[in-house]
Amino acid sequence: MSLLLQYLASGIATGCTFALVATGFVAIYRVTRVVNFAQGAFAVVGGMSAFALLSHGLPHVLAEALAVLLAAVVGLLVGLGAIGRRGTPVLASLIITLGIGIGSYAVLILAFGDQPVSFDGVGGALAVAGVTMPRQFLLVAAVTAAAFAALALFFNRTYLGRALTACSSNPHAARLVGIDTTRMGLVSFALGGALGGLAGVLLTPLQPVAFNSDVGLAINGFAAAVFGGILRPGTALVGALVLGVAEALVAGYSRASFQSGVALVLMLALMVWQASRRPAIAEDAA
């Protein structure tokens, strides 16, 4: 029983980081209709630069905040490449983000080396109902909850957030009322970068992150985002938690190597199920 609770706790913690990566996908896709293949790289940038800043003697919180900021800047740069040029087809944007993701490997290896890095998060463990739980789990859950609350406020209450939502529901109408959709797209890329960076910062103490950890992170994040058709952050959160817990249970009770298979198969099944409910015609680029 306590073993089950332990798996649940660690599943929820990793699920939270998937959720942040997934929301990054959602934030960018909603506004630009671009699926950002560099989303996993944002998390890697966040995690590895937080490690570098900490090892240079910066205090916690400040180092993590700077790392998230850096990831947001990287997100903005990826956005400039992907949608900065007017009239770039969506499929081309997708391949550009893929190219930037691969290119980021070179920069990451040069900057941080090719070995996985990890740093200590919040130390210590807490005993809850007979289960010892690292405090980092609680931190991850709390920060994720706060991030989602802030996002909900941002999208619903602020001018910028509502402009982003306007772009996602109807870009033509948004342009008619004077919203610069390209600039909003860039904002969404920066937001996606920050969310990815936050995921990386929270995840690195739990499991080491290397320059090529982005594929796994992106796959899990995308699988979670697909739950909500890559459009709804809330559904993505639910998806990410389900995914995290399912993977933890499979790794715990079966074999660790089957863990990633869960995400992949679940994602494929979901995508196919969703596709079967919608006509298969792609939207011609408007």
Binding site: L91, M267, S276
Partner: protein, 324 residues
């Protein structure tokens, strides 16, 4: 006049391709074989991306399936190599149909992730099925290619392989050219312009996409099979996700949907990687230099081509040639 010049250029390239192996040493011939194999895969992917508008990040998976099927059929069942190759090609296409039937209902970007996931699943299945595939250690001792009683062995092995691979590549390109000009080809071109338009004109879009997907998988399976015969040793590590991305870069650089573009893309990228590896392994270079170089160049080439020459090298040159 220009048209005649173009034909002359094509003939010159064909003759050059035929004569080149004579001048190359064994390690250069190996690169030559790899360019030919990549051309076959890219010919399929270029068709899929250029006409069906679908991005596949799983061509490496079909390459792996072709390689393992060929190797297992030839090694364990003792099937004659050409038969094993044909069976693997057909088998890969069949798997593509089964996988594509649900996946092609998805839009372009979904399929990219789905095929990426498919490749990761294929790799982990190969890694787990140790009894059959040797797991992560790999499958050694694949017999060499033989046609009837004649086995490809000895001094001229690579030389003959080069001709076989390039004959297959020429066949693939020829098939593509005829396909695009045929009746299904017209439907394909309509699909490339507007999916809704093609559907309205009576093209059965879903079926056509599935056929192109299966064809592209068959090309990849064929190339993978020859690869297994050529190296006589395969392991999951030979088919990383990066391989699929490499094929995608080749297709994009050459020009999506362009027949000669597949050839040019495969050649340019393979040679570029060779040069970079040579530079990266020079004495005094850090250990991770080759990796850094290739990642940087993959990224740069892909982004620059899409931003500056979105149609790809060959179509851009052709347009300039025609003076348009």
């Amino acid at each position: 006049m220009r048209r005649r010049l173009g034909i002359g250029l094509g003939v010159a390239i064909a003759i050059g391709t035929l004569l080149l192996p004579i001048a190359l040493d064994d390690s250069q011939l190996t690169v030559y074989v790899f360019i030919g194999l990549a051309t076959i895969v890219v010919a399929g992917l270029s068709l899929l991306m250029g006409y069906a508008g679908q991005v596949s990040l799983g061509q490496g998976a079909f390459y792996a399936i072709g390689a393992y099927t060929t190797a297992l059929l030839a090694k364990l069942l003792g099937l004659p190599p050409p038969l094993a190759l044909a069976a693997a090609t057909a088998g890969t296409a069949a798997i593509a149909v089964v996988v594509g039937l649900p996946l092609l209902r998805l839009r372009g970007h979904y399929l990219a992730f789905a095929t990426l996931a498919f490749q990761l699943i294929v790799l982990s299945v190969i890694g787990e099925a140790r009894g059959l595939t040797g797991g992560d250690i790999g499958l050694p001792g694949v017999p060499t290619l033989s046609i009837g009683p004649v086995a490809l062995e000895g001094q001229y092995r690579t030389f003959v392989f080069a001709y076989i691979v390039w004959a297959l590549a020429a066949l693939a390109l020829l098939l593509n050219r005829n396909l695009v000009r045929s009746r299904p080809g017209r439907a394909l071109r309509a699909l490339a312009t507007s999916e809704a338009g093609a559907l309205a004109a009576g093209v059965s879009v879903g079926r056509l996409k599935l056929q192109v997907f299966a064809l592209s998988a068959a090309y990849a399976g064929l190339a993978g099979g020859v690869y297994a015969f050529f190296l006589s040793y395969i392991a999951p590590g030979s088919f990383p996700v990066l391989l699929s991305i490499q094929f995608l870069i080749m297709a994009t650089v050459g020009g999506l949907g362009s027949i000669t573009g597949s050839l040019v893309g495969a050649t340019v990228i393979t040679l570029l990687v060779q040069v970079l590896t040579a530079v990266g392994t020079l004495p005094g270079m850090p250990l991770h230099a080759p990796a850094v170089f290739s990642y940087a160049v993959y990224g740069l080439v892909l982004v620059l081509i899409l931003l500056l020459l979105p149609e790809g090298l060959v179509p851009a040159v052709q347009r300039r040639w025609r003076g348009a």
